[in-house]
Structures are given as C-alpha cells and as structure tokens.
Symmetry: C2
Subunit: 244 residues, 2 copies
DNA sequence: GCAAAAGTGTTAGAAGTACACCCATGA
DNA sequence: TCATGGGTGTACTTCTAACACTTTTGC
C-alpha cells in the first residue's frame, strides 16, 4: 500500500447489472485471505479510503481498479457503521493483511455506493489480484462483513431512486435495446408487472426514448424494433422541483 | 469525555422545524471554542461517535442531549467526507479541545442525519453547555465545517423523501392542525403552490388525515377546522408509482 | 404452416387541474 | 358592516387499467 489509508473509513461499491432476467451484483474474492475455505471469501469491491481522496473519488478508484470504467454514475446511498460489522474474525484478519496494517482494526464505517452498469461491458485487466464475477442477486453466497445487507439496501435504494427518475435505468441497457428489454428492466427493478400494450404507449410519450429504424436480426420470430436513449437537456426528469 | 471516541467519524444532525412560514434549522454554538468571534461559531449539533454505539444510536444520543427528545424518526441521508472539511483551522482546534483529544485530527467523515420536529416542542435542559436556537433556513449564518452544505442537502433529501412518502411531513405539525397549515408545510417543503380547493379534496381522500369537530378559537375570521394525523397500519402511504 | 414473440385500439373509471364565489367571525 | 381568511362545485383534461387479436420471422 503506497498511500496512507484511514483505518476507520472505507467505501464499498454495489455494482448492479442486468442479465436479461435478474439483477446481478459484481462480487470479488478476498484474495490473500488465506483460502481456508475455497468456496467462500466473497465480498463487495471496496477499499479503505486514502487520506488524500474524497469519498466519491475513493468509490471511483475502486470501480476503475476493478473494471477499468471511468465516468460512471456512482451514487452514494448509505453509511454502514454497526459495531458488529467485523464480528467475523477472519474478516478483520483479511483487512489487516490486505492493507498491511500493523495494528488491530476494531471498527470500520463504510460508505456504500451503487452504480448501474451494462453487464457486458468489457472488464479491463484487474489490478490487485481481484477476481470478479457477476452473480445473480438471488444466488449470492454469504459475503464478508455485512455485505449481504448492503446489497439488499442498495437494491431498495435503486428502486426508490428510479421511481423518481426512471432515466437512471437506461445505464443497465446496451446503447440499442428493444422495448421488451426496457420493460423487463423496469419490471425487475421496481418489482411490478407492466401491461405490454400500455407500456408501448408510455414509451411513445417519453422524449428521451428514440425509436430507431433498425430491427433485431436473426431471431426466429418477428424482429423487434430497437430504441435508443438520449438523456434530456435539463436533467430534471424528476417531478416537482423548484427551490424553496 | 468518558467514553472512547472514534476520531475519524462523526454524526451531525439537521433538525428541521416549521415556524408557519419557513423551515428552520436547529443550530448550536461551539461552546468552548474560545469565542474569538462572538458573532459566529455556530454549527450543527453533532458528535464524534463512541466506539460502543451504532451510527443511528449516536444520532439519537446527540438529539437527546440537545433536546431531550427520544424516539424521533432520524433519517440518515448522506456521508460527507471531503478532504477539505477541516480547512478552517479554528474548527479543528475546537474539535480537539471539545473532545479532549491529544493528537491532531486531520480528517473527519461525518454521517449526516435529518429529522422533522415540531418547532414548539419544549427543549429540556441542555447538556454539555449547548446553546441551541432555531434559525430560519434563509437566515443561516456561516456555519462551521461544511455544515451549510449539509443543511442544503438535508432539505433536498427531505423534499425527495416526502414526495414518495408525504406522511413524513406530519412530524412538522402539532397534533391538531388546520388544512391551511398542512398545505403551507407541503408547499414549502416541496417548493410548489397548491390550489386550495383541490387541496381540500385531496386531504379528504387521505385515510390518515382525520377531520375533527373542533375548530379554531378566537380568530377574527371564520374558524378553521382542525385535523389530526393517524399513521396508517401498513406504512405504505407510498404511491405505487410507475411514473416512468 | 407453425411456433414464438412483437406489436397494436378502445373504453371506462380515477385522478388531477383550473377556476370564482359564498361563509363565518371579531373588531 | 367590513375586513379577513375558511371553505366549497363543476367542467375539463390526463392518466391508468383492463382487455384479445394480428403480424412477422426462422425453421
């Protein structure tokens, strides 16, 4: 570790992608954990914060080290600081080894971020021996620390935020997508079922969803039209603004 | 200071009240700051966290020390951890003196909470020499650290949360309130104007707003009816939104 | 031609918006 | 009796929800 870290504060990133059916989370192995249990030791990507970086910068750094992606919309959503977060002793041991710390860490407050990504984005070479994998939310193993809780609160947070600003969800889709893909994303994230016909009517009224002439190719049924997302000029797709 | 504190993590509380016209914030004096400048030294109520308490507990403790209130809905809304939060040297000096710390604090990440209160709630005797006062949001002085930013983000957070769950706003009102009071609260927090007639229709459909027989007394115009808030059984006053 | 998924209209009810006048009270 | 703020009806528009059949394509 080159830089001084703050041994009390970390960031953790819940990177969410969509595989066509479910939300997936990017989890990493605790490499260097000693591998007592080769089936486990998964966690969210995260890091202690360096003393010379802001929280948002730390989250971006973790994302970049892990995936090579930059300029991604990372949203801080909650701090987790329960006194029992390090109750599993192997988590503390891993932390101290990984960060080459010379004293015992008794407590870490972590600032959790979430980000929506296209699951097929090519991951660049991973630094730090990370071994990352997308895992469907329903199939998550037991993660280190309280990371399972963090994932569930992240999903809840995304659900709420996307209710106020549905344009967030387009980050989960490729540049060109079909109406069905968009619908399934919305159904999955918001946990509701949408009427197909009414959904077509609705996207027809969205100024930021542009129908293309291009269609699917090579499917053994009627080809679906592609759409494109164009972020509106004024970012206020959110209802109800006006300053007090 | 009896208990061990974590010198890197604090909580700060944005307590919001409503005076009939504007949102007010409870700010406190940095007592023991040396009083170089008797006009300033205001800050949000907050504290370093103790090593044996959770974040939520720390926020409740600060609120209780300050106001005597317990069981108040405190909502964590954001962590602030910029590297320049302590850029004003007098803020660091105050912190180190107040908490009797023997080393220099270079950086603190604070977890910010917000809470909506009736502004007329009687404050109990304040511990720790706090000197607290409600201040209209528009008249806030320069506060210590980045507390002015924190206040503004708190208000924005409350605005968003109350869009999804309007029942939050009843915490700002007395037990009995008039339709006009409720309307002005909603207009102020959400930053919009509401049509009086339509507003009456709307509250008539809200199951959690109960009209009383009792009316205002001693006003020199037609007396307004009082209403009461009763929290619904299932807390989902949240719209089943699909505002794509 | 058939399996498989895409795409399309209409209607009824609910909810929201706009608008102007009468009512009760104390001074 | 008047000044003050409280309270109401109605028409119109928009949104939402429910519903079943035809189209295109590869095999």
């Amino acid at each position: 570790m080159d830089l001084a870290v703050n041994p009390y504060v970390s960031v953790d990133c819940v990177l969410l992608g969509f595989d066509g059916e479910q939300l997936n989370v990017l989890i990493v192995r605790q490499s260097g954990a000693g591998g007592e249990d080769s089936t486990g030791n998964y966690k969210l990507p995260g890091s202690l914060i360096y003393m010379n970086e802001n929280l948002d910068e730390a989250a971006q750094r973790v994302l970049k080290q892990l995936t090579g992606l930059v300029q991604v919309n990372m949203m801080q959503f909650k701090a987790f600081g329960g006194i029992d977060r390090l109750q599993n002793p192997s988590d503390s041991v891993w932390l101290e080894r990984f960060h080459h710390l010379d004293h015992h860490i008794e407590r870490i407050v972590t600032i959790a971020y979430t980000s929506l990504l296209r699951i097929d984005r090519k991951m660049e070479k991973l630094e730090g021996g990370y071994e990352a994998q997308w895992t469907p939310i329903g199939d998550l193993p037991k993660l280190a620390f309280d990371h399972n809780d963090i994932v569930h609160e992240a999903v809840e947070s995304v659900r709420q935020k996307s209710t106020l600003d549905p344009t967030l969800l387009f980050d989960l889709l490729p540049r060109k997508f079909t109406a069905a893909q968009l619908r399934v994303v919305m159904e999955t994230v918001q946990g509701i079922a949408l009427d197909v016909k009414n959904f077509h009517k609705k996207i027809a009224t969205m100024p930021y969803v542009i129908p293309l002439e291009e269609k699917e190719d090579g499917v053994n049924h009627r080809a679906a039209r592609y759409y494109q997302f164009r972020r509106p000029r004024n970012k206020k797709c959110v209802k109800n603004n006006q300053n007090i």
